[in-house]
């Protein structure tokens, strides 16, 4: 697959017809699992991701216990069939890294100090993957934590920007991620308007970075609105059920 073969941008439109600052279609569902204390399901373009939360609960092994706060663990997992070339089950280095930065981002908003010595587990299951899964997973995870009733200072919406055929664009899909020049996923704490997850790989000048970063933050703010909406309507649903 030579990079020249595919024209990623044509007449100012992207492969799937989006403008540079368009998000893919996003659907967020809350409380989709019965066993998990909290859960959320997010469809985002062709991505399908489920997040589930257990805890606060007893933490094992014991040496991880912190008498000043809970320990938040996050496991990001790509299902074997979520990608075209089957992925061998079990954690690989990419999953371990994403799990680490996701746990750090979530730890930033969860009031861990309320549950000394406890463990809170966040499981992110990527069922279908099409670029940007760490953003989708984190977006689902903070909604699942809220659904679990765990006290948080804010949600953690996430979104990527990147550079494709020389243009800075929002929310890369698979072909853009594979053939583009740069990917920049980030996550924010909306109330502080500060950045809590940031990774980048590719080639960017400082000015391009500023532009991409701003675009991604705006995207994350839109995701934030959808997260809140989904949580609100889930609370309404609960009321109706009761």
């Amino acid at each position: 697959m030579a990079k020249d073969d595919v024209e990623l941008i044509k007449n100012g439109k992207r492969l799937d017809g989006r403008k540079f600052d368009d998000l893919r279609k996003i659907k967020i569902e809350v409380g989709v699992l019965k066993r998990a204390v909290g859960s959320a399901y997010v469809e985002w373009g062709k991505n399908k991701v489920m997040a589930g939360v257990y805890g606060p609960r007893e933490l094992h092994p014991k040496y991880l216990r912190d008498p000043t706060k809970a320990h938040l663990r996050c496991i990001y997992n790509l299902a074997p069939f979520s990608v075209e070339d089957r992925k061998r089950p079990g954690p690989d280095r990419r999953s371990v890294e994403i799990s680490k930065v996701s746990a750090e981002a979530l730890s930033s908003v969860v009031m861990l100090e309320k549950y000394p010595n406890a463990g809170i587990d966040v499981f992110i299951e990527v069922l279908q993957a099409d670029a940007g899964t760490r953003c989708v997973g984190l977006t689902a995870a903070s909604v699942a934590l809220a659904d679990a009733g765990i006290p948080m200072r804010d949600l953690v919406p996430a979104c990527a920007a990147g550079k494709v055929s020389g243009e800075i664009v929002l929310d890369l899909m698979k072909e853009e991620d594979n053939l583009g020049e740069c990917d920049l996923p980030l996550a924010i704490i909306p109330r502080k308007k500060e950045i809590v997850l940031l990774q980048m790989d590719g080639k960017l000048t400082k000015d391009e970075f500023k532009k991409a970063c701003g675009l991604a933050v705006d995207g994350a703010m839109k995701v934030y609105e959808m997260q809140k909406e989904a949580l609100l309507s889930s609370i309404n649903n609960v009321r109706i059920e009761e």
Binding site: L33, R35, A36, P80, V83, R86
Partner: protein, 259 residues
């Protein structure tokens, strides 16, 4: 086992002895089962999501080209794995599959393999090259009876699996050529014994209260059986379970084949 668990087990057993199940079902009645084929149809060659009561199992099928087994050089290969993901239950851990996950995979495997459901002889490509069919069972929510939900999701996914195109010694991802050849639809049906009663499709609570468990996988014949649990079964218990499994298997098979 703590005291609360003991009391709960006793309560369920007493209810069952009075002819009642906690969720109001009859002993020979399955919970609602929804089968959604091609649930992750953009990437996987085949897939199906099964909701059985609170249980939710996603099966995805991936096809690769690889080497045949030396003792069957002209046949494709099927391999089934189960992951009881920690999202599905507070009791599931991360790490390689344990005894419970392996049992689910192997019971589902035996039903499909022994009924020759997949026509593996049609998966031969050329000398030393055959299709490998990966069946990945992914448990997302554990509400009891993982075996049946997994077995149904697996065969429903297989029945609807597309073959990737294969040209110039390469698998062309995203392009398809025909369907995976599947010639029958084995369905596992699981009963449990509680007191002297045989109940089909146990919920999680019923699994907890059961003495013994029996899975019977049927097509037009019996293809696989697996007894579980520390209790014993009488011959008549087994024969009841066999009858129930033939009957329910037929109903579920119709649903799968009409997807």
């Amino acid at each position: 086992m703590d005291i609360e668990a003991c009391l709960r087990k006793d309560y369920i057993t007493n209810q069952v002895n009075d002819g009642k199940r906690l969720d109001g079902r009859k002993f020979d009645e399955y919970r609602d089962m929804e089968i959604e084929k091609d649930y992750v149809g953009e990437k996987a060659c085949g897939s199906a999501l099964v909701r059985l009561g609170d249980t939710r199992i996603l099966v995805g099928i991936s096809l690769n080209v690889g080497e045949p087994y030396p003792d069957a050089p002209e046949s494709g290969v099927m391999t089934i794995s189960t992951e009881l993901r920690p999202i599905a239950s507070p009791n599931f851990e991360t790490g390689p599959p344990g005894g419970e996950a392996i049992e689910v995979a192997r019971v589902v495997d035996r039903g499909i393999r022994e009924s020759n459901a997949i026509e593996t002889e049609k998966l031969f490509i050329e000398e030393n090259k055959v299709w490998i069919v990966f069946v990945d069972i992914h448990a997302l929510d554990h509400g009891g009876n993982l075996i049946d939900a997994s077995g149904v999701a697996a065969i429903a996914a297989l029945v609807n699996t597309r073959m990737p195109k294969y040209e110039d010694d390469q698998v062309i991802r995203g392009e398809w050529k025909g369907k995976l050849p599947v010639k029958c639809t084995p369905v596992p049906c699981t009963s449990v014994k509680i007191g002297d009663n045989i109940l089909i499709d146990p919920s999680m609570d019923e699994e907890y209260a059961m003495d013994a468990r029996l899975t019977v996988t049927t097509t037009d014949m019996m293809n696989a059986m697996q007894k579980g649990g520390q209790g014993t079964l009488k011959e008549e218990d087994i024969l009841s379970a066999v009858d129930l499994s033939f009957e329910k298997g037929k109903e579920i098979r119709k649903v799968i084949e009409s997807l």
